[in-house]
């Protein structure tokens, strides 16, 4: 905000030069200063070496029987064929997608509620806002360790005291409930980021719109449904896309809470792939990684299509 105005202030003195500068831009269009290449090429080279090359090496090894050490030979698409027959891999995909979908929904509901609250006329707004954004600056792993104790010690003791027997044992040790604990901590950790985007959205809504609605006698719930929500739909789409993608790759919170257990009930795809480094099934997990990449790519393409369609309809 401040910079743009500063730019605007300093712009006029440059104006007398504008005919010359126009000529300058025309010239630079045909012949580019080599300095610009120096600005980009080293970064591109490092990027290719550290990001693109490992990806290609990974695809290559997914076609071999490399165990992570020793000899290897090409085995074609055998790894891929085996993955489709592997119930453990299928289980990790199911867990990851159910988890990511649930978390996306809950995070967005919670974040939108917090953003609406922070945007309303409440007292001590600055202080309350400060508190709500604290989780954003904390390490997800350490937060999960703290919650780990709360779930496995504090909650059972409290449950016993109040006679809620189903919760008297740690939910982290329960095959059917452990994933809910992971959802909860992820929501705790991810809600502030989404809230910020919603706050930006809410503040982009002109107040005249609400004044008109007030005059028409619309209640606040009605205003939210038929005014606020449609007007911030773009921000909701961004949150859903960013969130879902992030939650698919979830790792630290699971490590801190369940370590993938009990059994393999909460093992995400990312965790399975990482296990390839120590588990001796390097090439197999690389094939898994390639499949994972293709799935996320497909999702990205679908999401981009949806955004573009929205863009047209707006």
């Amino acid at each position: 905000m401040t910079t743009t105005s500063r730019v605007a202030q300093t712009a006029p003195p440059a104006e007398p030069n504008s005919p010359a500068s126009a000529a300058g831009t025309v010239r630079s269009r045909s012949r580019i200063d080599p300095t610009y290449y120096w600005m980009v090429v080293p970064v591109l080279a490092l990027f290719a070496f550290f990001i693109t090359l490992p990806a290609l090496v990974g695809v290559f090894f997914s076609l071999t029987n490399y165990a992570g050490y020793g000899d290897w030979k090409f085995i074609g698409l055998m790894n891929y064929v085996n993955i489709f027959k592997d119930p453990a891999v299928l289980q990790s995909y199911i867990f990851t997608f159910v988890f990511a979908l649930t978390t996306t929904v809950v995070v967005n509901i919670v974040a939108l509620a917090i953003a609406l609250g922070l945007n309303a006329k409440i007292k001590w707004r600055t202080g309350i806002r400060t508190v709500f954004f604290i989780p954003m600056v904390l390490s997800a792993l350490i937060v999960s360790f703290v919650f780990n104790y709360l779930f496995s010690n504090t909650l059972p003791v409290l449950a016993e005291r109040f006679g809620v027997t189903p919760l008297a044992t740690s939910i982290l040790a329960n095959e059917n409930l452990a994933w809910l604990a992971i959802v909860l901590v992820t929501v705790w950790q991810a809600a502030p980021g989404a809230t910020i985007i919603y706050l930006a959205g809410l503040q982009s809504v002109p107040s005249e719109v609400y004044e008109a609605a007030d005059l028409d006698g619309a209640g606040s719930f009605r205003q939210f449904l038929s005014l606020t929500l449609p007007l911030i739909m773009g921000y909701l789409v961004i949150n859903v896309i960013l969130g879902f993608k992030g939650f698919l790759g979830t790792y630290e919170i699971i490590v801190g809470l369940t370590g993938g257990g009990p059994g393999m009930a909460t093992q995400s795809v990312a965790m399975r792939i990482f296990s390839g480094f120590t588990g001796g099934d390097y090439s197999y997990q690389m094939a898994n990684a390639v499949i994972y990449f293709l799935i996320t790519l497909l999702i990205s393409v679908i999401q981009l299509r949806l955004i573009q369609r929205r863009g047209v309809s707006l």
Partner: protein, 299 residues
């Protein structure tokens, strides 16, 4: 009423819209007390786990016993911090984390602003537009896909240490950061630099003296994201750094999951010490941090 008029200018600098401010004045600022109470209650979901962490860190193992852990300890056990300091070799882990974080922030600021400037100013040239698309493509590559080959590659190069983590933090964030910068560079009129060029400034000088200072708000945004991402990262240090003595603070906390797993007071003291730096910085500079993050959100 006085409280609200005091609070209003503060909010405006951070993020509250001027329009909303005007509107509330016209209608009279009527505080919604029910909502305030609700929000205060909801903020307990954040405060309680933090309170719990502090309470646990100040307990002796006896005080933890078999209770809920929610009670405040009496007397408080400050020795836990000293013990955790020694057990985790805190100074070394702290220095390692600080090394990775500082270099990642500087690297991110320098590399993505340069790349964004070069690309934005040569947008109609195929090479630069191609570079942009190439860098952006990384946003579609999930991290698990490259990690296994990457571990081997960094080990071969002798980069299985904090320096290797710095490279990957910078390169991993470059797509997003460049995206943020490009939009900003485009809003800077070319005329500004052309007049400097008339006076004989080279492209480097133009960037350093004119463009980079003007990018200040975006530098703050990119810097905050890089700082938080780097300081709190667990995955990359855990996977890449081979020597346990060079591990970063989040990874060091894994220690309490194994050999010490019964000594919770020590563990929580250590957690608190690892969380404190970002927490303190955030609380001291919260308005600045939030406006920086907000700028990233609007883009």
């Amino acid at each position: 009423m006085t409280a609200s008029t005091l609070a209003a200018p503060k909010q405006r600098t951070a993020d509250a819209p001027v329009r909303g401010h005007r509107r509330s004045n016209r209608e009279g600022f009527k505080i919604n007390w029910w909502l305030t109470a609700l929000m205060l209650a909801a903020s307990l979901t954040v405060l309680l786990p933090l309170y719990f962490t502090v309470a646990m860190a100040l307990k002796s193992p006896d005080q933890i016993g078999t209770g809920t852990g929610l009670a405040w300890p009496n007397p408080m056990n400050w020795e836990n911090f000293a013990a955790a300091y020694v057990a985790t070799n805190f100074p070394r882990a702290f220095m390692s984390t600080a090394f990775v974080t500082v270099l990642s922030v500087l690297g991110s600021l320098a590399s993505s602003s340069l790349v964004a400037y070069a690309i934005a100013r040569n947008w109609n040239h195929r090479f630069f537009r191609g570079s942009f698309v190439y860098l952006l493509s990384a946003m579609f590559i999930p991290f698990p896909v490259i990690i296994l080959p990457l571990i081997k590659q960094t080990a071969l190069l002798g980069l299985d240490n904090p320096a290797g983590v710095v490279f990957l933090h910078v390169l991993g964030g470059i797509s997003f950061n460049t995206l943020l910068y490009i939009a900003f560079v485009r809003s800077i009129p070319v005329e500004l630099e052309e007049s400097a060029r008339m006076d004989g400034a080279t492209t480097w000088q133009v960037f350093r003296k004119i463009i980079f200072p003007l990018l200040a708000p975006m530098n703050a945004t990119v810097g905050i994201f890089a700082f938080l991402g780097s300081w709190n990262d667990f995955l990359l240090p855990q996977m890449l750094i081979a020597d346990p003595a060079l591990q970063t603070l989040p990874v060091v906390q894994m220690l309490f999951q194994g050999e010490f797993n019964t000594n919770y007071s020590l563990a929580f003291a250590s957690y608190l010490m690892a969380m404190a730096p970002t927490l303190v910085v955030y609380i001291l500079a919260q308005r600045w941090v939030l406006s920086g993050v907000m700028r990233g959100a609007v883009k």
